[in-house]
């Protein structure tokens, strides 16, 4: 699946859909002429150009399942006082064009048939590439056992909540565990607090089954989780990480 020898060109992508995911998150779907499909976990770089030529670039994980023609979906979370996310969330509209290049990445990817069992660990907007993996799995009817342990500040911060519930209700080997770190609603039945070793022991797959772990979110989250996994005996070469940088409050 790694495309050798192809120059990654900037493509023009026309926005065809904008979908509100929660109070601070939207999914923006574009049609990119020249797009050649992607694997779950890959990302795109997008580039914005101001009238005076100033350019800003950011990377976003691809949210939609592979095999979606020329459609490229990114899920964008607001960064307070950010330079790019307020534009994407507040200004960009259907019919506008943005530049993007991709798909990029060959390490933090999972394709149906790669096997498992899978342990997916999401911190905040780190859920996006993992959701892409879940969508790819569902689309292919793949039955690899997978657990998503998804950490959010509060239930308002959860992304893709209804779809995750639907996927979990399918009874096809996908286990969904939410944890909330800052506030929880009354009658919350999920976990609370930061993901720690006892929580991983409660929900993680049996180490003997040689699980593949994917950890994604802010850098401190990823590093803490990766350390926990290693301490619990998950083999280091079966732990893949993608660091999103500072926590979403700062950019």
């Amino acid at each position: 699946m790694i495309e050798a020898g192809r120059r990654l060109e900037w493509l023009n992508a026309r926005v065809i859909e904008v979908r509100v995911e929660n109070f601070q998150v939207k999914t923006i779907v574009s049609e990119a002429s020249g797009w050649t499909d992607h694997a779950a976990g890959q990302h795109v770089d997008i580039r914005l150009t101001a009238p005076d030529g100033y350019q800003a670039q950011r990377s976003y994980s691809i949210a939609n399942a592979p095999g979606d023609g020329q459609r490229v979906g990114i899920t964008v979370q607001r960064v307070d006082n950010g330079e790019v996310s307020p534009f994407l969330l507040d200004e960009l509209r259907v019919g506008d064009t943005i530049e993007l290049r991709g798909p990029i990445g060959g390490y933090f990817t999972w394709e149906p048939g790669d096997g498992g069992p899978l342990l997916l660990l999401a911190g905040g907007s780190g859920v996006v590439p993992l959701m892409c993996m879940l969508r790819a799995r569902a689309k292919a009817g793949d039955l690899t056992p997978v657990t998503l342990l998804y950490s959010s500040r509060s239930d308002r911060h959860i992304i893709y909540r209804e779809e995750l519930d639907r996927l979990a209700a399918a009874g096809d080997g996908f286990t969904l565990v939410h944890t909330l770190t800052h506030e929880r609603p009354e009658r919350w039945i999920g976990e609370t607090g930061l993901i720690d070793r006892p929580m991983l022991e409660r929900h993680g797959p049996d180490r003997g089954a040689n699980p593949q772990s994917f950890v994604c979110g802010p850098t401190p989250f990823v590093e803490a989780i990766a350390n926990h996994l290693v301490a619990l005996g998950y083999p280091g070469d079966r732990i893949k990480t993608e660091r999103f940088g500072p926590s979403g409050d700062v950019k």
Partner: protein, 91 residues
């Protein structure tokens, strides 16, 4: 506004490196010149942001790779790596 200096990783640098390399290097196995740590390039810590790409060893923080596109030229420094291994299947 004060911004934290928190790195990303090699995954995020890959788009820029594709301006120079014909293949995606995320899975390339790289060996740190300073401490001999061996692992995927994707796991190197990515500093520099808009100034330039600086990838550092997650074990010892040594600079492993530097890359800068000046618009006029692409510049690469891999003195911090003693080896870069790219499997033909991409693994």
């Amino acid at each position: 506004m004060m911004e934290e200096n928190v790195p990303m990783d090699g995954n995020a640098a890959m788009g820029r490196l594709r301006d120079l390399f014909a293949v995606d290097l995320s899975n390339a196995t790289v060996t740190c010149e300073t401490c001999d740590r061996e692992g995927p390039l994707a796991e190197l810590l990515f500093y520099g942001g808009p100034v330039g790409v600086v990838l550092r060893c997650p074990a010892c923080d040594a600079v492993n790779l530097r890359f800068l596109d000046t618009g006029r030229a692409l510049n690469l420094d891999v003195r911090g790596l003693k080896r870069v291994r790219v499997g033909r299947t991409g693994a």
